[in-house]
Structure formats: C-alpha cells, structure tokens
Subunit: 343 residues, 4 copies
C-alpha cells in the first residue's frame, strides 16, 4: 500500500483520479489539495464518490506531500514546475498531468505556454509517459510527464506506420474531435451546455499547444522529417476523443492490419479492431483502452487510421495510474479493469 | 463459482447483466441466448465487452439452462412464464427481469399485459425482488420477480413515509422522468435520437403498466387504502430515473430527515442525502445506488421526495445481481462496487 | 415603423429579442446596449444574426433610449427599476423581461429578490403581460411586466380550471421541467455541458422566486384561497419547459376537453391538443405557441394538465413581442409566425 | 401562386419541405403523398405544423401530380426514376431530392446504388442543382437533381480553390461530420438516441455513395485529375454538417481570404467568415446558409477549409426550394429568410 497525494483536485482530471485511485488495491489517498475548496468534503463536490471516499480538500502543504510515495499534479499549466524539484529531492515520485514537462525544448515550451519554465534542467530527464513507447524508461523514472489527450490518441494511431517507415511522415493530417470535458471544469461561457450542445465546430486551427507535443513524439518514431497538420474540433458530448489520421503510403502491398495487430499484441490497453470496423468513443468511456482501426479506402494510396480514447482516462487520469503502476512495480492494469458502461 | 445463464441477451438489460456478471467474482456466465443473433460474438454486438467476455449468443436450450445454478430472463414480457416452471422443477433459481411474475393477481396481469398468464399458480410464491423490503423472502426464494425501474424508484422513495403512517396514502402523486434506455433497444421511430433529443414529454398519462405494480407494493407498506397518480415522462438522456413524489403529511412536526436516515442506515445501496440537497441522476449512473432527498417546502403540509436511480442498474440488471447475491449467500454488493463515472 | 431599444442584449433573452425583432415588419431596432461589449458587432457575438442585423452594442444612454417608442429590458433583476420612471416620463412604452415589476407587493418582492424596490409606486400600475389574461389592460399600458417562463406555462395550464372553479385551489402541484437556457448565459460551472448533460435533477425545492409570482396570478383567476407546491427541475436540453400540473377535481362529470378548447378558441398562441395526446417541447421550439393537453387518468378525481412552451419565446422574448404588438396596435402575431424546426 | 406536390413526405426531408413551403409566398402545396400514412393528417405526424398546414397524406396519384407546376421527390433512391419521365412529358418541373439523377454515368450509378437505372436517357439532361455552380442551367431545367448533403458542403468549400487552380487536386481530403438526421427517419437500432448520443464514430470509410458524386462535381471545377479521400462521421446532434477539407497549395503567397470573399460576394446563401474564425453548425441550423472559413495553419503549405451547413436545409429541402425559386423565376431567397435559432 503506497501513499498518494493529488495536487489540484477540483477539475475533471482530479475527480477521475479520485475515482480510479479509490478503487485501486495498492493505493491510499492521503491528500487532495485545493486552495479554493479547503475543508470541503470531496464527496460534497463530486457526489459519485459519496460512500467511496471520505476525504476533505486541504491547502497544498509541501511537507505533507513529501511523505507521499507518489504525487499527482492535476493543476493548471505552470504550477507543478514550482513544486516538483523539492518533491524529487525528497525522493517522491511525481506524475504531472499538466504540460509542464512534456516538451524537451524550453524555448518551445515558453512560446506555447506563455511563460518561462521554472526548472528547465528537469526537462531532459522527465520521461514522457506513453507506456506503449517508453515503458522501460517509465519504470525507472522519478518524474513522468503524462501525455496530453489528443497526443495520446494521435501518437498511438500513427506509431506502427512510422516505426515501419510506411508513410510519408512530412505530410500527416490529424483531424481530431473531442468531447467538451477536454476543456475543463472552469466557468466559461464557451463550454455551457447551451453553447456546445447541438453544434459542432473546429477551433484553434491556426495553432494548438498539442501540435508541438505530437510532433516531438512522432519524431521519436522515425528518422525522417515530420510535418503535421493538426485540427481539433469540439463535439457535443462529455467524454471521448476520435482522431482520424491521414497519410500517404510510401509503399503499397503491405498488410497494415497485421502490422497493427502485431505491434499491439502485448499491449493490454490497445485494442486493434478487426479489418473494416469503426471504433466508437462510447466503447472506451470510463476506461483506459485505446481502440484503433486501420483502413485503406478502395485500396488506394491513402491510409486512414481511426483512434478513440476517453480523454479523461487514457488521455489523462487513467494513463497517469498506468504510469504509477509501472513506476511502482504493480500490475500495469491494477485499478484499471472496469468495463465501459453501454449504452 | 456458480453457473449463470441469461435468456435474451441482446437488449439493454442484457448487456448490463453481462457487464456486471463479467466482473463478478463468484459467477461464470455459461450461456447467453438470442435466436436472432445465434453464433454471433457478444463482443461484436457490444464492443465495450471486447477483451472482457469471450462468449457467443446461442439458441435457447432448456437442457443447457437446467445445468445452471441461476438463470436470468432479460426477455420481453410473456416469455419467461413459458420456461420458468421447468427450470424450477430442475432446481434452478430464476430471476425474471421482465414483468411476468410481478403482479399477484392474474386477472390484473392479463388486463395490463394483454395475454393470459401461462403459470398463474406461481404468482403467489414468486418473491418481489426489492431487497430493502423483502430481503428475507428473497434469500429463501427460488423465483424472484425483479421490480420495474419506475416501481423501484417510487417505492423506495415512499417507503419510510408509508411504513410510519406519515402521509395520506389515498392521494399520492409520482411524477417520474426516465432516460430513453428505459424504452429498450428495439428499432422504433419514437426512440431515435432525432425524435427524443432536445425535447421532453409525458407519455401514457391515461395508464401505464407500472402503476398497478407500484400500488401493489405500496399496499404492503401500509394498512390503509392506496391511491396513486403516476405520470411518466421521457427525458433526453440515455440513463437515469428521477421520481418526484408528492404527499400530504397526516401529522406535522416529525423529523422526516431522521426517519429516512434511520430507515436506510443499514442499506448499502440507499443513500439519503443531507437535508436541503437534491440528487442528480448522473451521480448513480452505472451503479446500483438509490439517492433520496426529502423536502418539506416552506414547512408546509406537502412532503416532496426526490429519488434517483440508474434504470438499467438498480432499476433492472443491478438489482437482479443484488437479488442473486442474496439468493446465493454472496456478499450483497459483490460485483456491484463500481463508482459512477462523473462527469 | 416604430423605434425599439433593448437594454442588456448579451444574454439569451437578448439574442432572442434580436432574432424576433430583426424579422418584424413594423420595428426598427435603434439601440442594443451592453456595457461589457460596447462597440462589438452584435453578429460577432451571435453569428446566427450575420447578414440579418447590422448593429453594434452601445453603452446604455438614457437620452437615446428616450427617442425610442418602446424599450425592452433584458437585464438582470434590479436594473430596469432604476431607469423605468424616467423613460415613462418621456412617454416611452416599457416592457421589462426581468422580474422588477411582476409582484404587486413590494415587501414580497424585497424578500424574494434580496433588495429594496427602487420605484414601488409603479408596482400597482404595471400590467402583468399575460395576454390571455390581461389583453385589454396590456393594450392600454405604458409599463408591462413580462411574465416569468415557469409562470407562463403554469398559469395558462391552470387558467380554465380555476376560472370555472373546477378544482381545489388550495392544493395545487406544479412539477416543472426546464431546459438549461432558463439559467441564462452567465459563466457558471453548474450549467456547463459536462455538468448538465446526461443528468436530471430538481432544484430550489425549498423555495423558488417564481412561486409567489404564480400564486399571485392564480389568485386573479379565482375567489378561493390558493395553495401551490412548485418544484422546478433541470432537464438536459437547451430550450423548453414542460409543466405537469396536478389538482383534485371539485366536481366530476365535466367535459374538461371542451372547457379547455372553448377557453382558448380565440387564442392564436394557445393550442389545445386532441384528447389523449401529450405535447412535446420540441413542437414549440423557437415559437410563441403554448401546447396544452388535459387528462383525467382512469376517470379518477385527479386532473393532470400538460403544458409546454419555449422558455425563451413564449416564456420571455416572444411574449414580450406579443405584448409590444398589443400595446402598439399591430397584428398580435406580427413577427411571431415562424414554424418550429423539427426534428 | 404555383401548385406543388411532394412525393414521399414522411421523412425528415419531407417535413422540412413542408415547413419551408408552408411559409412560401408563391406556393400552394396541393399534394403530399405517403402510401403508409394515407389519410392521416400531416399535422398529426409533425405537430410543429399544427395550425400552419391543413393537409392529409394521400396515395401517390400520377394524374393528380401532373396537375402540379412542380413536383418534389423526397423518396428513397430508385423511386423517382420510375415516375419522372411521365411527369416531364406532362410539362411538370421535377426536383429530385434523392440520388436518382445525380450521377451522369449510369454504370457508376448502378454500382453504387445496387440497381439498374430506369431512365438513363435522362441522366445527361438532368441539371445538378448546386446554384452556386449551375444557376443558369437550373433556370432552364425541367429536371433538377438536388445535391446530397455532404456533397453540398464539400463542393462549396473547395470551389474557389479548384476554380483558381490553387491546390493539388489529386490529393484532397474531406473529413466530414454529420448530425444523425442525415440517416433519416427510419426505425433503425443504429440511430436510436441510446446508440448515438454521447458517442462519436466514423462510418463507411471503405466507401460511401457521396464520394463519386463529389468527385464528379469537383471535376467540373478543374481541368486536372481529381483524387479525393472522403471520410464521413456521425456526431451526436440532430442537424448539421461540418466538413473539414485539406489540400496542398500548388502556389503560395495568394490571399485565400480575398479569393473566397470575392467568389461568393454575390451569393446570398454563402457567408465567408472573417479571417481566423471558425464556423459553428448551430449558426446555420434551420437555414439555407453555408458558412465557410479558410485557414493556412502557420503559413504552411496545407490549406484547411471549414464548411458548415444544415444537412436538411442547404443539404436537402432548402436547396430544393432555392432551385424551385430559380426554375420558377421567383426571388431566389423566397421562403428561405428565417434566422437560425440560437441557442
């Protein structure tokens, strides 16, 4: 039984961490912090936890957090980097669900996140927490940068093609659709039910922070140059990301279905669908599973990959728990075995 | 480890039973039947089960079902009654999720369900599977009639008031709202997304089959006459029932909050909210929990009870598993411990 | 062609007024005010108006407003009362869509709205703008208090029963369900899509501001005492109110269907459905129509009335335009003839 | 005042035609046919039409249809082609909202629609009813093939780029998302609320009937070869299509914003958004407008076009009315002036 702390627990990523960790056989949650909700019962804010978790929000206290075995940051970007060095010095393992340690280049980070990085010296040693790429490094890591939601869906969708040099990596297109929970639990007009229900739109077409994160990841899969057009969209549902990925095959005649199936044969959270099928986001809702289908319409030169995740689970809290399991030597699926509720 | 069979597994109640039983520590599913889908993989129809359940639909075979310890019927009304006597004779425990054994009066049953009952002699011995009322009888039963979704929410909401003779039982109002999954997985124009989304309506105001079922149950809670106006509504969401219950208090000055809290103190699936709160259906989505709040607006004579369930869990498959647990001597919450996914 | 001004145009009531007035044959919109959005194009905020309305938000200017023939207030409660006296003195007709002039009793108003009334001397002369009750008074009025959304649906549903002394007016129940737009366009966590979609709940059961407004209106329909239990609910859709109304008939054998049909025979915005039917909120979406059905389940003593409106049209902006039409001598349906979009 | 008939009026395209024609100043609807609903009041099936249209469904009667000035077919594919020749011979103008006359090549048609064409000799003379491309031909036409919903959004989005030879036409990608009403009003499990709400998926990636229709249209815009990958998706809302279109610019430095603005300057139903904006489907709901934005992310070589329509209006019934207006010499926007309801 390890002790876990969560910094910043009032958002959607926070409640999802609580749900998963409350049911984890090897974890005791000892602290969940929130300045604004100090003293309030967690179950009063998130009634799904009534009867499952008896804990109050507390003010962040670095000394208390140092007594944890692992600390999760579910904070806005720019917060974790101010506390992480001290926790690492105290021997605490850290998993940051925000973007503070995702990019390796501090200038690139500063450009996209609008501030100077507080501890750029940690960027190199932080491990990018995509287990299907970096399992060995994660197992040895003290600091894991948990991937973004879109980057998880896109990278796992393209991985087999890039690793095998099957596509022109300079001209990739990722057309991604997200449920509204990806925008967080902040009080914004733009994410009201009346503004987002019964409508569909693209956003941030000129540039989105997940684009450089994805490109950095794709570059680790190939020796070639990488060019990516990334267009995110808002879709009227709570959870789920569907990435539709397009590339030009550099050689024909390869059995893409077999290549995908073999690449992920040992990955318990990646499910490659039978040929010709289309994954639905609801089939992974509340779970840590990625479902992927690969198509080559009319046998042509364009490959189309469909990749779906739950943005709050495999795209955030679930992947964080998976990373914790690897870092702590637990069964990789501990606490992550629930079945999606359908319908 | 007991052997369980499910007759009629292609509807929403069926897939929910599969989800719950696939994660149950003491149950092996040995048969799931469907004439129309014979031979098809369960996971091909319900992709949430991919990787969790390796089973194909089969044609109903009474000999195979006789080898089960327990058989669930998730069939249309009128099917279970044709097979149940033979299964009971073979010593199989039966839980019927349809309405075949819910009413004690065969003429009443015939009137509301439009056919003669095939085995009226079993109506008396069948136990109405509402554990919070009939736990002892359920433990000893061979045949359990699993309650309807609306009846579960309404009866548990009114139980403490009627047991304590606190309201005029001749003039009760149950204004109930259900998600669309309550109408089942049949191909009907009336439950298309385009017909039910972004709209709200009442239905069956002249008369609904759950009305006599509720009245029968309420009569078991009081020695007085029972009069009930029941109005169901369709609300644009997948899961959830919210019953708003109105009654006239026959005496004032009683601490209703305490009466509810005490009545359900030992019930792990009934959660009485603190005074002044309002339950949300999403807080019980995918779980077997009932959440109840009791109000007395402006200290007047009218009591208002709010009662929410997931119609497919506590209102169907979850309550069936709870009944099975009681019948088989398992922990009553085995397989029913998951936390609702929020948001 | 009259000149109209709108004070406070950035909420849902504001944009709905703009949509209706932009298509009105007899009205020119000369000012739409908003302190926060000053100078911004209306169409930039509400893209449905692109190409239909070329106007910018301006700071409220009392001198400019005095040049209008009619001024609408679509402001938060407590704003209109600070400007109305000066406008009336200048001969401007005023329609307040907020609650400032709805209650006749200033102490009652202060109790429910949490502030002292700024011009209580106007409360008596203000006309409550429910045309089906007060058409003659509206035609002669300078100041109209536009009814609340719930009060419109409830009062029109109960009117024929109370006018004819057919029910026990001391024990009325109004179980009302509203779409989320009723909560306005403010940035609140409680109305995010992720908080309100796929869920249903009651709110404000201990007391809601619309309760005294409804009671005041009902008292004008009968000489008897009035007692009302009012329970509002939030339903996961954008627009629409469904009021389910319950009462005990004081005499039996009356043809309720005929009474409703005759009462509303001349009302072009009230549609009484054929016997046995159930209105859907979507059938009135975007329109000024009320649809009503009256039921007497199983011929018993309880009458159940179903009443649906679009909360932003007949429950707000549409009724305001209807009132304007009456006050200005236009055809009562001018600008209000569009057909609901279905599906 | 012309006489119009509608064959096949019980689907979503049919009710939308009724809504638009009921408010059209120059049209009298004289017949609306449906074999299955013969004799039933149109308003009983579509309650939004109560009070606006007093008409019953009738059995299709070719003699009655010959007395019309214009006949709309809102039938399944393969029906119109059996009746159109006789109507044309009688001098009736015909607008087919199904696919019978969209493709010029009868073998291609037979391949995608699974039957032989009944009157292939009409394919050449039928005019493809996309007014922004073929206005002159439509004005002179007797038979108009109303475009499909996806084809309308995609073709209008790509038109300025192809007409000006600005992109590599051999490698176009159309990632399109549709509301569920695009699947029609048939009773199918796949379009139930419980199957489509809170989920997102692609479908028909191996091949969709709209692909050859789009390619045929694009070929008329350019002298170059055309290659198109078309991927449709189902999004959990009732109405709306959002097409996200990708192409590689063949020359840089051109002012794409100006090219789009100028191309559509005279088109009253095409609204090019200001640079940097993103259209929302809700802004065109219920209207005949297309909203388009053109982006060149980070100044690179890839152009991204966002194109939104209401699939039932500009993608079906609205465009049909626009075509009728052109064919009959009416104002092109007659009956099509309503403003989208927002929120």
């Amino acid at each position: 039984m390890i002790k876990a702390g969560i910094v910043g627990g009032t958002g959607y990523t926070g409640v999802e961490l609580l749900r998963l960790l409350a049911g984890h056989p090897d974890v005791e949650i000892v602290a969940i912090t929130s300045r604004s909700e100090q003293g309030k019962s967690v179950a009063a804010m998130f009634p799904n936890l009534r009867g499952h978790l008896d804990l109050n929000f507390s003010v962040p206290d670095i000394e208390q957090l140092k007594t944890c075995d692992v600390v999760f940051f579910a904070t806005p970007n720019g917060t974790a980097m101010t506390m992480v060095p001290e926790l690492l010095d105290a021997g605490v393992k850290v998993i940051d669900l925000a973007a503070d340690f995702r990019l390796k280049d501090k200038d690139e980070w500063a450009k996209w996140y609008g501030m100077e990085h507080a501890c750029p010296e940690l960027l190199e040693s932080a491990v990018y927490g995509l287990p299907e790429m970096n399992r060995v490094e994660i197992a040895a890591a003290s600091l894991v940068a948990n991937p973004g939601c879109y980057p998880t869906a896109v990278q796992l969708g393209l991985l087999p093609l890039l690793e095998n040099n099957l596509i022109d990596s300079t001209n990739l297109i990722a057309d991604a659709k997200s449920g509204v929970s990806g925008a967080g639990r902040g009080a914004n007009v733009g994410t009201l039910l009346c503004e987002t229900s019964e409508s569909f739109k693209a956003y941030a077409v000129p540039g989105h922070r997940h684009q450089p994160e994805i490109v950095q990841g794709l570059k680790n899969m190939t020796e070639n140059q990488v060019g990516l057009t990334f267009v995110p969209h808002l879709t009227p549902m709570i959870r789920g990301i569907h990435a539709t990925l397009y590339g030009q095959l550099s050689e024909t005649g390869r059995d893409l279905q077999m290549i995908y199936t073999q690449r992920y044969a040992q990955e318990q959270f990646v499910d490659v669908l039978p040929a010709g099928e289309h994954p639905e986001t609801r089939s992974v809702r509340g779970t840590n599973t990625v479902r992927i289908a690969v198509h080559q319409p009319q046998g042509g030169n364009t490959v189309v990959v469909l990749s779906v995740i739950d943005n709050l689970v495999k795209g955030a809290a679930g992947q964080a728990v998976q990373n914790m399991n690897i870092m702590c030597g637990f069964d990789e699926s501990a606490g992550l075995n629930n079945i999606a509720v359908m319908p």
